[in-house]
Each structure stands twice: as C-alpha cells, then as structure tokens.
Amino acid sequence: MARLYEYQSKKLLKQGGIRIPEGDVAFSPGEASKIAEKIGKPVVLKIQVWVTGRAGLGGIQFAETPEAAENSARRLLGMKVKNFVVDRILVEERLMIQSEFFLGLVIDDANKSPLLVFSSIGGTGIEEIARVHPEKVSKFSIDVLAGLRDFEARNLIRKAGLSGNLMLQLSEVLTKFYKIARSNDARSAEINPLVLTEDNQVYAADCHFVVDDYAVFRHPELGIEVAREFNRPPSELEKIAYQVEEKDYRGTFYFFQMLEKISAEESVIGFHGAGGGGSMMSMDAVLNKGFKLANYCDTSGNPPASKVYRAAKIILSQPNIKGYFASGSGVASQEQFHSARGMVKAFYEEKLSIPGVIRLGGNYEEKAIEILSTYLNNIPAKVEGYGRDDSPEFCAERLDKLIKENGSKPHKVKPWVEPSLPQASYSFETLTGKLSIDHAQCSSCKTKGCMECCAAKILKLEGEKPVLAIPPEDAKKGKCTECLACEIFCTFHEQNAIYIQLPIPGLKEYREKITKSE
C-alpha cells in the first residue's frame, strides 16, 4: 500500500475543501522556526512517520514561540521511532478543541463497495470506543457508481447521534471526504480526530491516506516512490527493483529485503519464489531447514525471461548469501523455460559460485530443467533443477547439502560489467533492452540456430546474417518477447555473437558501493 504522510494527506483535504490547521512540513529546525513565525500563534510539531500513537512516543510537542519550535524540532528530527528515523515534521497551528469525531473509509470485500465509518466520539483509542459504544458508530456502504449523496451523509451523522447545525457541517465534510478519497484512489482513508473547535469550526486535525498500489500510475502528482506496503522506508535495492516492476507490465515482480546486513557466517540464502501461495510454502521449507532469508522475491504471472533475469541480478546483489533457492507452487501454468533462461543468463554472467536449487515444476518443466542442466555446467557453482514431483522440503534439503559441500562460502557481489560490443554490431531495441548481433561472426555459424529458436519468428536471414523480419518499432513494442533463446543458443552452441542488454537503472552504482565497502 502506498501510504501518504499526514502533511501530504492534509494537502489533499485542503484541495478538496476540507479545513485543516495552517502549517507546513519542515526538514530542519530552521524551517520549523520559519513556519511557526509565519503562523504567528502557538504551534504543535508532529513527527511524520507511519506509526500510530505518536504522542505516547514523544513524537508530538507544543511550542509557544518560533524559538521554542526550533528547539523542539531539533529534538524531534533524527529521533528513532520503530523502523523509522524522523526526517520531517509537520508544524501547524494549535487548535482549541471542543469535541472530537472519527471518519474513515475502507473497501469492504464482502459487499464489494467503499464503506464509510463515522463515530461521534473520536481521537485515541477509537477502536475500543467503538466496541464499548456501538451506538456512537454508524456505517454506510456507498454505491460506487452514484457516489455519496448529501442525504446519505446526513443520515450517517444522524445515526451516530448528532443533529442540527453540527450535522450539516459534518455531512458536508463527509461528501467532500469521499470525493477526495475516490478521486485519489484511496485504498483506505481516515480523519482522526475530526474536530469541532471552540469557535465552532470543523477541522481535520489528523489524517492519513493509503493509495491503491495499482492506481498509483494515475497520480504522478503524489510523488509515490515505491507503491508497496512497508513498515519502514524502502531500501535502496528495493527502489531499484521497483523501477523494474513499474516499467514492465508483463507478469509480476516483487522484491522485498528482509535483511540488509548479512555476515559471512550466517546461514542466509537468496529466495526467488513464484506466486504467493507457492512461495509461502517454499519459504516454510527453507526456514524449517534453519536458513534465514535475505529477501523475498516473486516473479510470476508468466513474466518474460528478461524480468526473471533482472530479478536474479538483484537477488545476487546481496553479499554473503550462501545459496540461491527458487521455488514456487510446483505446478505452474506459466512457461517455465522463460524463468530457466532468465536464470541461466544471470548465473552465467555472474560466474555464480554459490549453489542454487531451482524448482521449476509446471508447464514445460522438462525443458526448463534441461536448459538449466545444459548451460550451467561451466560455472563454479552447482545448480540443480527440479520439477513438480520434487517437494519443497526435498529441495531445501538438497540446498542444505550443496551449501555444506561448498563450505558455506559466502557470495561475493561483483561489479556490473557490460561486454564491449563491436562498433559495427547490428542491433535493434526491445521493449526493455537492446539486442545486438555481431554479424562479423555469423559467417562461421553453421546452424543458424537463432532463427529456429526465436519463438516469435521475428528474424530472417539476409545472406548469412540474421536481421529483423519486422519493422524495428514492432520489435520495440514487444514483438521481441525478450525470451533470450537466441542469445543462449548462440553463446553456448555457436559464435557467441548475440547479446541482449537489459539495463537495471541504479544497480551498477549500487554494486560499486557494495564492492567498495566489502
């Protein structure tokens, strides 16, 4: 879930016509002082982190003057709260509160509709209040095609026990709130507390929004870096991985780092799953063998070989892992040879020296296992391929044995190197990369096997040389499916003349940093 900070959420409320306290976000004590000066009234400073109960953690402070605000900011910035280090605070006018309410929106999976929840008591401990005083809480299922109508909002407030002018004021906030939530694709949204001030104005005193991951593309203005649910800021490697996911709609790719620092002694492995259910089962199998996981990764939904390749390269950017475990449901509908080819290219480029157990059961598993065993016998590591009748437990045991045979040698991250391609290479762009053929080598080629193994049939021979049989624009649009079959064939059976460049922005620099610090 892509969460927004309180100050970002409040900006959305303000744009949608809901009153919020005057204020702004500060990244330094100096900025905090300036904001307080501009407000010209006593202020409250609130740390901006995705943690509830900030007041109890000392993350909310009051200040009468700009100087006091600056001092408070100095204490708050850099503070450690759970998995966060505070790097920004919200400075805003302090409200004089008469009463507090709660307003929330969730998606109800049973009713398949947005559900609005209002409570005439709000603030901290709202869940407990709702349990003890159900009569103060009202709920309403919104017809998503019609939106929230004025009278529905009024009834919702009335049912929570409020009436008169306050009911009118609050119902107006409700209809605005739903419009804001809907237009920003909010997966959930909450104003708690919604307050009535002493001068009888309704303000949103605190607010948070969670935007639907799958709709983040509609909202570039929100500046969401990684549309994933995290209880901590995303790591550098996760940000790199997310770029890959976002730029390639074919299949799924998910990467989550579980350990950022791994020692040379720990039994930690890189994990590469396929599909949520199968991955969970496979993770259980390696965890039960006493391994820890450096990361969780999932490539599924029939991803192209290029995506699996990038996933493997990212997994292998984690130093000191002792082995590589790939395993999914065991009976996958996706063409498993794509995954096999992606891993072959990655492992071969890396000259992998830690063992791998790759369980690719499912559609075309025989071909997938054959690809692994044929092309990975020339690297230092031992890589074994398994199918649907080999259980995750058995595969985890194999990995354990292989790691022991390898003396639990830790993985060393290598610098990112691009092979130097001859200037005169023939090349064309693919959806996410570039394919080059060194035509000078093609005259020595006897088989022209690249023609045969191109499943998309987009190549033709001009004289001795393979060239595109379709317009280059079409290859770039995705007619070249980046299956990597031509490169693998040419590398291992012929002249090593084909290379598909599949860039991963940021990974080169990341690896440089890692190798330097090692």
Binding site: V106, A110, P114, A130, G275
Partner: protein, 301 residues
C-alpha cells in the same frame, strides 16, 4: 454438470491478439472449450489460431449470436472498459485474468455486473477448468498439461492462490481423485466470485460431492464460508488449508478496518471459525489428498 462452464458454453476472448491472448486461445481451443470468437478493436477480420477476430463484443453477438462467457486478456489499466463492454453486450460471466487492476475499477465492474445480473471471476486469476469439458483463462498453460494434471471427478476446488490451485488439483489427480470444477478466485482483496459464492455453486452442483478450499490471511472470505455452513447453506464435506500462518499478524490497514472487521482476517480467526463449523482444516498441502480419501471412504462405508 460442473459449475460455471462446460463444453457447451459459448466463449470469447477479449484481447485475443495480444501476447497472452494468443497463447491461451490455443490452450482453450485445444482443450475443447467452445471458443467461438475473439475481440480486439481494430483487428476485426483477422484470425488467431483459427478463431475469427471481431472489433467489439456487440459485433460478435450480432454476427454469431449470444455469448455466454468472455475471458479478458487486456492490460490492467484497460480492463474496466473491456469488462463494461462485455456486460453491456449481455455476457453473463467474465473471467478477468490480469493482475494489478485498480480496486475502484473492480468495484465499478462489480456494481455494474450486479445491476445487469452478470458475474465475474478475478481479477488476478488463472481462470477455471471443468476437467474433461472446458478451460477458461490460462490454467494448465497448455491443453496437454491440463489434461494430465486435472481429471473429471466429484471434488470441487476453490483457491485464492493461482499456483496452489493447480498444485492441489494435481496432487488429487495423482491420488486418483478427480475434480468437478477447479477455480482460482483471484488473488486480489476484492474479487468477483469469492469462496462463499463458489461454495454456494458447489452446493447446487450434483457432480460435486466434496470441496477443497485454499484460503489465505486477509479479507473475510473464509469466515463467510463458515457463516454459510452455519446457516445450512453449504452442507457438503469441506477440506481447507489456510496460507500465511508465518506472516506477521497485526498488520492492519486502519482503525476503520479494525472497527468493521474486528479480528476477522487473521490466520487464527479463520482456522477457529472453520473448525467450529466442522470444516476439515489441514496443516499441510500434502494432507489434502489423504483427508479426501478418508472422507470418501467414510461416505462409502
């Protein structure tokens, strides 16, 4: 019998000329699905694997007559319009394969489908198969594999994990137990047909005599199945596995979520609720075929 689809159902594919659409047209046709046409706007008049392509669902309807089911292979951002097009044309069952469909798009499709008396499976689904009759979506990958992995029989299978849908069914087949219909309800938080709706269909289906369900943490689907059983609306033996035991509990979206759902959604609550109403909850996937044989023997004895 089976549920939702059989060899007579008239099926189209929206997005038949795309990467996935083409491959799965072959799977479906080879398996025996009555695939009458495909739709890709602007590609009318072409053919994919011998299947005629039309510019719109309405055009298929005009030229070839009523369509029962549409299987959608279209990038997630365009799914809503494709689904509305099919429902508007009169199609009563959609299978929405793509992943990453925005949740409000799903809600709009659900509301519109409800208004028109249509239903849908997915999004983010492998699809479904009534073994020996028809495949919808990409389950099995190829006809040859689908025939090998899934066999006709009397066990209904419903799952929230795509890979596990096939795995569980394959392990049943290997043990000599066939399936009536196998359905991947989809991996998203909001799906068209969820477990309880599928169980109600299995209840009415004569071929189905037992059901297997793969549940997961999150949503209220499994709890609602327990509610159904309690109300006497699902009476056949049910074997369930709940994934996500190891996942951290206590990850909650919001206070509002907690107010509405209480403790629903957690591993413990799901298992407890299901056991209370007599569901056979197993701890390992490999126990499913064993349990199924045990229940079958008990029935025969």
């Amino acid at each position: 019998m089976a549920i939702l689809v059989d060899e007579k159902s008239k099926v189209i594919i929206q997005g038949i000329t795309g990467r996935e659409g083409m491959v799965r047209a072959q799977l479906m046709k080879d398996y025996g699905t009555n695939l009458m046409a495909g739709v890709t706007p602007g590609r009318g008049g072409q053919e994919v694997y011998g299947v005629p392509v039309f510019d719109s669902v309405e055009e298929v309807w005009e030229k070839l007559g009523p369509v029962d089911i549409s299987v959608i292979f279209i990038p997630a951002t365009m799914v809503k319009n494709a689904a509305l097009e099919a429902i508007e044309a009169g199609v009563k069952l959609l299978v929405i394969v793509p992943d990453r469909v925005p949740i409000y798009d799903v809600l709009e499709v659900a509301a519109f489908a409800n208004r028109k008396g249509a239903r849908f499976v997915g999004p983010n689904t492998l699809g479904l198969v009534s073994p020996g009759k028809a495949v919808l979506g990409m389950i099995g990958g190829r006809a040859e594999r689908a025939r090998e992995w899934f066999r006709p029989g009397d066990i209904g299978v419903s799952s929230r994990s795509g890979g596990m849908t096939s795995s569980m069914s394959y392990y049943l087949t290997k043990t000599g137990l066939g399936q009536s219909t196998i359905i991947h309800v989809g991996g998203d938080a909001v799906v068209g047909l969820s477990h309880p709706e599928v169980m109600e269909l299995f209840e009415k289906d004569e071929q189905t005599r037992m059901a297997v369900m793969f549940g997961e943490i999150g949503t209220t689907q499994e709890e609602r199945v327990a509610d159904l059983i309690e109300q006497g609306k699902f009476t056949k033996p049910l074997i369930a596995f709940i994934g996500g035991k190891a996942a951290k509990s206590g990850t909650r979206f919001s206070h509002a979520g907690a107010i509405v759902e209480g403790t629903r959604g957690s591993y413990e609550t799901k298992v407890k609720r299901l056991k209370e109403v007599g569901v056979h909850v197993v701890d390992a996937i490999s126990d499913i075929p064993k349990k199924a044989i045990e229940l079958k023997k008990a029935r025969e004895a």
